[in-house]
């Protein structure tokens, strides 16, 4: 789990199938020692994991990513410069699983776009 050591989230607001939350990153996490030394950047794969973990908390279920058509990493997230960012999600339960579309952004930038299908574990 990356939560709560790498990131925490607050102000989880739901409206229909849309969710919003404020993400706070911990720039002191050991992951940043290795990715990369002296040049901390949030690994793209951790953004994907953060989407899963927020979805799990919201749904109160353990899930596993099964398919992702496209994940786009549009801007680097420096954990000091971008210590607080927004996550927006749309979560739809279908016969095939739990379809999640999500974005990480702030007022000025879009960092990450996610579209994936999860299954219950």
């Amino acid at each position: 789990m990356l939560h709560p050591d790498l990131f925490t989230f607050t102000d989880l607001q739901a409206e229909g199938d849309k969710l919003k939350t404020t993400i706070k990153l911990n720039a002191g996490h050991s992951i940043f020692n290795g990715h990369f030394p002296g040049q901390p950047v949030l690994p793209g794969v951790c953004m994907m994991q953060m989407v899963k973990e927020v979805t799990e908390v919201y749904m109160d279920k353990k899930i596993r990513l099964q398919k992702a058509r496209e994940l786009k990493f549009l801007s680097f997230i420096d954990p000091i410069e971008h210590a607080s960012i927004q996550m927006e999600l749309s979560i739809k339960t279908t016969d095939d699983g739990i379809k999640v579309d999500a974005r990480l952004l702030n007022d000025a930038m879009l960092f990450f776009k996610f579209s994936g299908m999860f299954i219950r574990r």
């Binding site: 050991s30 020692n33 690994p43 794969v45 994991q49 596993r64 398919k67 496209e70």
Partner: protein, 139 residues
């Protein structure tokens, strides 16, 4: 094997605790192949399994080790690489702590500073996951 676990960081820019490959088994200009033992203290292990995040990271680092090995042979410094996009990712199962995964990557295209790859992760001969990826390499 061409690069052992003791030397793997000589061909990739990632460092502990975010090294997600152990050995570079084979590689040439197009293909690279690594192995990785899933350990309990891995930062991406959750509930006794490598989490989903570990799969594309392992594929990306397998590609990075291939580029890095060729770069090293040409006596150039190892460049940082960033995942720009992951496409058509499918995960059938996740590897458990104690299991060794084998990963194969093929470079399918280069467009300016972006390299397009496709990768597959197997464990005990069974396919666990595959995806395509765009990797941006900062020269």
């Amino acid at each position: 094997m061409i690069i052992s676990q003791d030397n793997i960081i000589s061909v990739i820019p990632q460092r502990h605790p975010f090294v997600m490959i152990d050995q570079l088994v084979t590689c040439d200009e197009v293909y690279s192949n690594t192995t990785f033992l899933i350990k309990a203290d891995n930062v991406l292990v959750e509930d006794g399994e490598l989490s989903e995040a570990g799969i594309p990271e392992n594929i990306a680092q397998t590609a990075a080790a291939g580029f890095g090995y060729i770069t090293q042979q040409n006596k150039k410094p190892i460049a940082a690489g960033y995942i720009a996009a992951i496409k058509n990712l499918e995960i059938f199962a996740l590897p458990k702590v104690g299991e060794i995964i084998e990963t194969n990557v093929a470079i399918t295209d280069h467009v300016f500073e972006v390299t397009i790859i496709s990768g597959r992760v197997k464990c005990n001969g069974k396919l666990l996951a595959f995806c395509e990826m765009k990797i941006y390499i900062k020269e």
